[in-house]
């Protein structure tokens, strides 16, 4: 067990745990974006920065708890840094509900940068979801720096992608990204809530992404009761 102090409160946590887990144990809320308990910690969005005793700001999700460490989760420096990070995030994804909520919570009231609507904050959740939970490794990062983006190898639709929709499920910002059937992007082109449409028709396919539209079920929407093919009632129609 490791003993440390968060905001002056003593906490004991098992060896190897992160500062974020230690804070959670105390019920202290630290905002996160690129962190998901089912995936490996990545430390990319930096929203979870906390201040250490020596004045450094480190990401709580990746920093290991160490004996005697003193951590401040909401110091003025931390809050100022978080506000700037949220402002940067909003400037690239202004229409994300999740980011707007974060902005409201942290009193970020304006975006002073020129807005570019990119609908991706490169948090890498989808890449880790695809690799770690779906074992597919179908998508990844390409390029570096300001040219970095997420795609499949060579921007081609990948055989490794099973159209599971895990990437869309986990994405914190692209709720409005739906590009519909035949989307130009090689990464799952749409943002439909991933509830399967096809199993009632083809049990072995689960083709509610990518190959959509081939059988037509999902595209045509609910059938009339006298139709020979069964459908799922109450489905959102998408064309």
């Amino acid at each position: 067990m490791t003993k440390l102090y968060i905001n002056g409160i003593e906490v004991e946590i098992e060896q190897g745990a992160s500062l974020l887990e230690a804070a959670q144990q105390l019920g202290i809320e630290i905002p996160t974006l690129c962190f998901h308990p089912g995936l490996s910690a990545y430390g990319a969005c930096r929203l979870c920065v906390v201040e250490l005793g020596d004045g450094r700001l480190v990401s709580a999700c990746t920093y290991p708890a160490q004996e005697g460490l003193r951590v401040r989760t909401h110091s003025p420096r931390v809050r100022r840094a978080r506000r700037m990070l949220i402002e940067l995030l909003l400037s690239i994804c202004p229409s994300s509900k999740r980011l707007q909520d974060l902005a409201a919570e942290h009193q970020v009231e304006r975006v002073r940068f020129a807005v570019r609507d990119e609908r991706c904050i490169l948090c890498g959740l989808c890449v880790r979801m695809c690799a770690e939970q779906m074992m597919a490794h179908a998508i990844g990062f390409v390029n570096r720096g300001y040219r970095r983006r997420i795609t499949t190898p060579f921007d081609l639709r990948s055989d490794a992608c099973r159209r599971c929709g895990g990437c869309l499920y986990i994405c914190p910002v692209c709720e409005v990204r739906c590009q519909g059937v035949g989307a130009p992007s090689a990464v799952c082109g749409s943002c439909t809530p991933p509830a399967p449409t096809c199993p009632p028709v083809y049990e072995d396919l689960a083709c509610y992404m990518g190959a959509t539209g081939e059988c037509g079920t999902c595209v045509r929407g609910p059938r009339t009761p006298d139709s020979h093919s069964p459908t799922v009632a109450g489905r959102r129609e998408k064309v």
């Binding site: 930096r46 480190v58 920093y63 995030l89 020129a114 390029n143 570096r144 720096g145 300001y146």
Partner: protein, 615 residues
């Protein structure tokens, strides 16, 4: 030939050393700068010319590493008579052979000038450029042929390794390095002995040592010159380090962009294996060690140690959180010591001459010497090695020879893109880790760019931000988006579109990027902005409030006009103008059409009378 004992090595050393002194020696600089200026042709000409006069066997002709004074290359130095020629062309070679080598007559026109006295000088040491330097790591650069291990052995090379392996315990080696006060030369300045001690104590089935040769700063060529000029000093240092920490494998990580360094290293490694300095049971001890080269494919961020580990393992070079530090969990999860090229090259000489000797060089906290690549608007560009604690003024004005008249030096950018711009007012600052960090810059790996009064500091900050937004790996938000946004703000300033609020935002953003970024690249990326804001704020304000670029660099804010009183109507500027924007007749003042002018500045350069003015 395998060397098994120290006695065997000493015998070989004496034999080689004696053979070496018998012949006059001609050393042609084979550093990258001199090669670019044609030193390979000079070498070839020497070979044919010496054959012609029948002296091919009598003269020891060597193609060495960088001599240092790259500005005046190709450089050739002779031992008998002792003379140093600069700016040698292939056509000068017959004269050098016939006059200097055969008859012992010095060719005046090829000698270097002492800028202080205006006299021509015969020896390197008589030039202030060399006189003020203290060449410790570079002591054999320009002296030995890097492709021949016997040259290194003749000067005492690998003797230290033999002594270490046969007479010292690993703990003693670590203690010596700790006592010497050596700190990492890659930039951060972590004490090397402490790093080794941590690695030795770290549990692991095997351990690695790595040489970080991913030198990527614009204008920097220190590590490259050491690897190209004296690869065995790095290899010997690594073997000693491996023995001290208990490593069995080593990796030299070199940039793919340094083909000459890679080739020199390949030759050196093969020769070191042949002589038994690498491999099983080195010097008949129980210690076995081998090295391999990993070539990095062009990412600046791979110089960050955790990103370097990722690159070595075959992954994309992206940094990760430290701790765990590489000495705890490095390559493939094993404890790993990563040191810079220059740090490794310091190891053999510290053990040879003792930690007390080393600790006497430099200042209280920064020991030894530091290599800098001196570039930019300075008279003597080149590779220099100085004792720590020398002032910036001595380095720039005495060794560097000051600005090129009529310009004046305004600032230096020290420490690469992550370093800072220090103004002339701070030139009395001693060069050591603490002073530079306090001033907002950093030692970095040793890039030093000199800027004159025709350099716009806002434009400089913008240049470095453009470099960094491209070289950021893009993993963490503040570095990826922050550098890009800073670049946008700086561009707006350079184009006269910015407001006071933008300046405030830039400062605020720079601070957050510095504080919250994941790795060293992001944490130091705002330094060019923060230091220029600190020391050259008035230039920012001129760009924003008066829409004026004081240095006359930012194209959107300047105009070229012809001063009718000065213009003699010589039409020299009319023809070179790519836009045909200059009109005028012979002996009549000319006129620039601002609609057509693209502000390329050619007219300004060609005008002999200073009539083209920047307003």
């Amino acid at each position: 030939m395998k060397i098994r004992t120290l006695e065997q090595l000493m015998a070989l050393e004496q034999e080689l050393c004696a053979a070496r002194d018998r012949k006059p020696c001609v050393r042609v600089c084979g550093g990258t700068g001199c090669r670019a200026r044609g030193s390979e042709d000079v070498l070839a000409r020497f070979q044919t010319q010496l054959r012609e006069v029948g002296w091919a066997e009598a003269v020891d002709l060597k193609f060495t590493g960088c001599h240092g004074l790259c500005e005046r290359g190709p450089l050739v130095s002779l031992t008998s008579p002792e003379v140093f020629y600069q700016g040698v062309e292939a056509d000068d070679v017959p004269a050098i052979v016939a006059e200097t080598l055969v008859r012992g007559v010095v060719i005046e026109r090829l000698l270097a000038h002492d800028p202080m006295t205006g006299q021509r000088v015969r020896r390197e040491q008589e030039l202030p450029f060399y006189r003020r330097q203290q060449r410790v790591v570079l002591r054999f650069n320009g002296v030995i042929d890097p492709t021949d291990i016997r040259e290194y052995i003749a000067l005492g090379g690998y003797r230290t390794l033999g002594v270490v392996l046969t007479r010292l315990t690993p703990e003693e080696v670590i203690e010596i390095i700790e006592r010497s006060g050596l700190r990492g030369r890659g930039g951060a300045g972590f004490p090397t002995g402490k790093k080794w001690r941590l690695a030795r104590a770290a549990p692991g089935a095997r351990k690695y040592v790595i040489c970080n040769g991913d030198e990527g700063d614009p204008g920097a060529f220190m590590d490259r010159s050491v690897l190209e000029g004296n690869p065995h000093s790095v290899i010997e240092g690594m073997i000693i380090g491996a023995y001290a920490v208990g490593a069995t494998r080593g990796i030299i990580y070199v940039r793919e962009e340094y083909p000459l360094a890679v080739r020199t290293l390949q030759i050196a490694l093969a020769q070191a294996r042949e002589y038994g300095f690498l491999g099983e049971a080195i010097f008949d001890s129980a210690f076995s060690f081998d090295l391999e080269i990993v070539r990095g494919a062009g990412a600046f961020v791979a110089g960050e140690e955790t990103a370097l580990i990722a690159a070595v393992e075959g992954r994309v070079s992206e940094p990760r959180q430290r701790p765990p530090y590489p000495v705890q969990r490095g390559v493939w999860g094993y404890p790993t010591v990563i040191n810079n090229v220059e740090t490794w090259a310091n190891i053999p000489i510290i053990l040879e001459r003792g930690p007390e000797w080393f600790a006497r060089l430099g200042t209280a906290t920064s020991k030894g010497t530091k290599i800098f690549s001196l570039v930019g608007k300075v008279a003597n560009t080149g590779l220099v090695e100085i004792p720590m604690g020398m002032t910036l003024r001595d380095l720039v004005e005495e060794i560097g020879g000051g600005a090129l008249p009529p310009r004046e030096i305004k600032a230096v950018q020290i420490g690469g893109p992550s370093g800072g711009c220090l103004p002339k007012a701070l030139f009395d600052l001693p060069i050591d880790y603490e002073s530079l960090t306090e001033a907002g810059a950093m030692m970095g790996s040793g890039g030093l760019i000199v800027m004159d009064d025709r350099t716009c500091m806002v434009d400089v900050a913008r240049y470095f931000m453009d470099f960094l937004r491209d070289e950021s790996c893009g993993k963490c938000l503040p570095c990826r988006e922050g550098t890009h946004r800073m670049y946008e703000l700086l561009t707006a300033m350079c184009e006269g579109r910015a407001t006071d609020a933008d300046l405030e935002l830039l400062e605020e953003l720079a601070q957050v990027v510095k504080e919250t970024s994941l790795c060293g690249l992001g944490q130091t990326a705002p330094n060019p902005v923060l230091t220029t804001l600190r020391y050259f704020r008035s230039e920012y304000e001129a760009h924003i409030r008066q829409k004026r670029c004081p240095a006359g660099v930012c194209k959107a804010l300047i105009r070229y006009v012809i001063n009718a009183e000065r213009c003699t109507g010589c039409v020299a500027c009319v023809q070179p103008c790519p836009q045909q924007a200059i009109s005028g007749q012979l002996k009549q003042p000319h006129l620039i059409d601002p609609e057509r002018c693209i502000k390329c500045g050619i007219c300004h350069e060609v005008c002999q009378f200073g009539a083209v003015e920047i307003v």
